[in-house]
Structure formats: C-alpha cells, structure tokens
Symmetry: C2
Subunit: 245 residues, 2 copies
C-alpha cells in the first residue's frame, strides 16, 4: 500500500466501527457472493493479502485450510489480528504489498479483499501472486468497482427528473483519487476493469470469474438502504487460475 | 435482433450519414484498437454477425480471409452490402441473430461489431458462436459499454462544481433501455460486463482480451470533441478463444 492510512488514528477508529470490523465476514454484504468464488478449502495453503483484522484468515482455517499466511501493512490491524487468535496454523506478517516477495509454488489460494485499489504497482504484485500459486491454484480478489472509484466528486446528486444519480466522470482516467472516507484525504487508485483483467491475463492466469457485485432482492429486504448500490456498482470480484501444464 | 430498427426509414437515413457508414472502418474511432484483437486473417474463414453495410466483411477479404459469411437482419443494409461488392468470397445472409443456426466447426474467426446489445437472448448466440469456432478459433466483439447503456436519462449534466458528468444509475439493473438515437424509441439491452464475460466463459471459451475503449491522446488531437468519452466509457471489446483440446 502507498500509505499507512489504516494506522491513522481517525481512520482506524472509524474502520473499527464498521459492520465488517465488528462482525467480520457476516458484516460484509458481499461475502456470501464472494465466497462462491473460492475453491475447496480442505487442506489448502492460503495467502491472505491485506488480511486486516484476520477475519478471512481465521475463516479459512475453520473451513479446513492447512495453513494461512496473512499479510498486512498496518501495525494496529495486525496487533488485533494476533490478539484474536491462538491458532498456530495462521502466520501474520507485516509487509508492504508494493514490495512483498511471495514464495513461489507455495499457495493453493491467494485471496485479497478490498486491498488492491490501494496499490500503485499492480502488475508487480500480480506477477508475485501468479508465481506463488501452484499449478491449478486459484486467485480470488475483490476491489472497489471503477464506477465507484472514478468520480472526481463522489457524491450522489439529482438528475433532471429528480431521481438520484451517480456523477460518473474520469472512468478512463486512471490514477489517484482522494476521498474523505472515515478520515480526510484517503488515497486510492482508480483502475478500469480492463486494467485488472489484463493484469491477470498478462501474468498467464486464466480468468474464471468476473462478478460486479450488487445486492440481491433478499439483501434489499434486510437492507433497503443498499438499493442505491444497484445504481453504481460498489465491488468487482475476480477469480483466476494458474493453468496446470 | 429484437427489432428491425435499421430498416426504419428515419433511423436508416441517420445511420447512413454517420462517419462509420460513409467512411467504413476508417470512420469508426474504435477500429484501430479493435483491430488489434483480431487473429491473422490469412486464409481465415470468417463469420461477421451484424455485418451491416459489409465494411468489415470486405476488409477481412482484403486482409486475406479465405471466405466471409456476413449475417444481418436488415434488408436495406444487406441490399447496400450486396451492391458494394462483387467478391465471390463474401456471402451475405439475412437472418435474425436471436434464432440463427451457425455451422459447427466452420469458422476461424467470429466477429461482431456493436450488435449484441440489440439481442435479447445472449447465451443462445454465444453457444452458437462457441460451437461454430474450430478449436483455437477466436471470437471478437464490440458492444456498447454498460456505463453508456445503463442510465435512465442518458444526457450529460452538471455536477455541484459545474463540470460535466454522466448520470449513472441502474448499472446493475439489466434489461431494455429506450433511447432516442437517430430515431425515437430505439431499444437496446443493457447488460453488465459480468454478464458478457460469464456468457463467454459459460460457453467454454477462454477470455483473451477485455478492452474498455476510450480515445487515445492522438485521437483527441484529431477529435477534441471525443474528450467526454473518457468520462464514461462508450465501448467494450471482448476477445475469446475456443481452447484446443
């Protein structure tokens, strides 16, 4: 990551109060769909890039993973992750994903939730991931969707007939976007779907899944306030496989 | 196609005056990039779905294709396509792509430019295409990008700071969109990138290219009025291959 925003006290305080921080995967609306991209976990060696509080790392172990390596840049998040487990099958490592070196042929699954949009150098990490996978191994990630990250002024507004619209601009202008989310001046990288997909294909991976997540009808019964998430897409999931050869 | 809009006199008149109708591929801003998705044409058997006036069908022959089958629903377009060639290597066929039956294992390349967003039943045609390809054969298509097709009111508007924005809504709500483009009441199908990509993967094809087209810097020198096309993406290209087995 290009910054230690998760170690910023204001940001960390706000992030710690999100449903996904308090309730883990059960508090992440996209998890039921994202989970369907995962391979069988039984006996799997897993790397969790941007592991945060370790919710996924712990879930992977309960789902049968043989071992999990969770990597994050944030001191505060790793401290809590360490505190929240005594599972010797989980190892946490503090590292910057811009520079991390992953052990080749070491993972059946590399997973990364809502992390890659903080990275400046995507191709470098994707090459590391592709090499870290064993043949047949799987990479699954979620990122903020480009319709969500693109706007220069990311605030819902009204259109001519009075309904709520998302003011899309700059879709094809990739690069830094600065937003006030939990703390002022949070920096993210806006990228197109093309850039994400071609990075995977360029590393020799085969694309197996592309999901533009939006809430289901059942989700909206429980969370009517999520309806706007059907107007612009909040999350992109990608699944890819290292081809057996 | 669900309608004969290209045979509507008003629509046909307007469409016939577009640069891409008058100047063919040279008048289509996206063609230089789309062309890069094509396989070597030498000796190729080509199917051109939604061939229109036959610009691509004729180009394919000049680029070395052995034979081209151009298919379209529009009587008027095919009349002009027939009129504009005497090449016995090109065959034009009038058919509805909702119901067309393609000969299995008959094509090295299936190509479709700006046509699939008129179709109601995408998976049926994709299955036809996958079966029509020989092993190693390639499918290349362009469609209107979902950020372009999604809005309920597809008109540029101003945002709070006065700049021009595209009023995105309904991104995840697929289905018919009615716009006034060249003629009133043109019906298109809005689909997400997920739906297009998963249709290809679901038919057993391997994704090789995903391009969200926007003008290059050189394009903008020649056509400064295209700058807005970087705010919302106008075209999506997909390339896929039938895996040799």
């Amino acid at each position: 990551m290009a910054q230690h925003i998760y170690d910023d006290p204001t940001f960390f305080e706000g992030y710690s109060r999100l449903p996904r921080s308090l309730d883990g995967l059960a508090g992440a609306g996209e998890w039921p769909r994202l989970q369907r991209l995962l391979p069988p976990m039984d006996g799997a060696r897993v790397i969790d890039l941007g592991c945060g509080f370790g919710w996924f790392s712990r879930w992977a172990r309960t789902a049968g993973a043989a071992e999990v390596l969770g990597i994050d840049l944030s001191t505060r998040m790793l401290q809590r992750a360490e505190h929240d487990t005594n599972d010797v099958g989980i190892t946490y490592l503090q590292a910057n994903l811009e520079h991390v070196e992953l052990l080749p042929n070491s993972a059946d699954l590399v997973y990364s939730s809502l992390t890659l949009h903080y990275l400046q150098d995507l191709p470098r990490l994707i090459a590391q991931i592709a090499a870290a996978l064993v043949p047949g191994g799987v990479f699954v990630c979620s990122v903020e969707h480009p319709t969500y990250t693109a706007p220069s002024n990311a605030q819902w507004q009204r259109n001519a007939n009075g309904s709520s619209v998302w003011p899309l601009d700059g879709y094809s202008r990739e690069g830094v976007r600065v937003t006030d989310w939990l703390a002022p001046g949070v920096r993210k990288q806006h990228r197109t779907i093309e850039t994400y997909v071609m990075a995977l294909l360029g590393a020799g991976l085969r694309l197996t899944d592309l999901v533009e997540w939006s809430p289901t009808d059942a989700d909206l019964v429980a969370h009517p306030e999520w309806d706007a998430e059907r107007d612009r897409c909040p999350f992109l999931f990608l699944g890819a496989q290292r081809v057996s050869s």
